[in-house]
Homo-oligomer: 208 residues x 2
Amino acid sequence: MNATAKRAGLTREKVLGAALELVDRDGIEKLSMRRLGAELGVEAMTLYHYVPHKAALLDGLVEQVVSAVRPDFDGSADEWPARLREFAVAFRDELLRHPGVIPLVATRPARSATALLAVEDAAAALGEAGIGPVQALRIVNAVSTLVIGHCLAEAATTPGHPEQPGDDLDLTAFPTLAAAVAGGLGSPADHQARFDLALDALLTGLQA
Amino acid sequence: MNATAKRAGLTREKVLGAALELVDRDGIEKLSMRRLGAELGVEAMTLYHYVPHKAALLDGLVEQVVSAVRPDFDGSADEWPARLREFAVAFRDELLRHPGVIPLVATRPARSATALLAVEDAAAALGEAGIGPVQALRIVNAVSTLVIGHCLAEAATTPGHPEQPGDDLDLTAFPTLAAAVAGGLGSPADHQARFDLALDALLTGLQA
DNA sequence: CTTGACTTTCTTACACCGTAAGGACAGAGT
DNA sequence: ACTCTGTCCTTACGGTGTAAGAAAGTCAAG
């Protein structure tokens, strides 16, 4: 009978979803309990019924993003470099879809079940190629770390700065650097190229 | 004549130095303008005469840390992989010496003159080996990114969490993972091994 | 010495943050 | 009808970064 229901009918999932939406739209620094509450038509303290503290909320953001990339490690055992490559590319795509979350992914280790499952799958696939469990996880870790590091540099949120004055640096003292910038360094295409270079090199070097 | 001088005689360098000390001792989340002021025997607002805003203070921390690693790229032109390796190891050592600053280094690009100079030197050295400026900078970037990524994972501060409950995860559903943990994964020695594995693989793969 | 300009420091204040404590109210089970 | 449980709000506390301006120290010129 009430047009405006007194109960908002929240769930942990709705809260996390709204948080991710807010971060994607306005950036992490705008994510506060009060603002998120307002987004959901609710007071700040209400959120504490679905999340124990803000840190858990941030963990939830990480969980959402890393869970969205579901790698597939089926196929013949000797194709693991190609599979790892696919995983890396998918992971990067997902991270770049949520730039505000990247620093969180980089900072807090994902311990959720789905994240562990993905790691387990990858390691098991490497195991079938005759690689021991410790080495397999090191390899998976190296690839993940590379992806995160590159996305971090690419999305460079640099929170707190009022403005980002483009490229007003004086490069006259750095000829090689200047030449590289003139050659297209820093462009979006260059980010892709940097990532591909590093990923290919890592995978190539890993086969030994 | 005054035992306690009314003027503290601060400088930007002293402020930055005290900030780094505070972060090394207590972690970033404890770095506030008021606390840093107290550390220097001064009110919070006084600091704003040496630093325009807190973001600049954080930039200063990054600058201090990255400036401390001064790579040497002299030597014959074909030794660049070994030089890059030395740089990577020195960079990592310096970062691990200041764990609280690692997330800052990962987030805000170092645009200081000394940082640019180091990059310039490295790129120039690669240039003597017949590598073009764009490719040279991509290589330097790949190595730096790898170092930052690995240090980020290794120092994993995970700010905000009350406690870090060790390894109480239930790994029974993840046999490969469990086997790897039993095999020593996660130990300090393993971090070193992970870094070495990734760095060697990257450098090997980069020679092509 | 006095004066006045300058730099450095402090005081006060504001808006915002995370969250502890407890009260108001709805719907379900007895 | 009555309590119970879960949802939501109100109030409050101590913390944050920082804007505005008053006060006090320093130093050179008159």
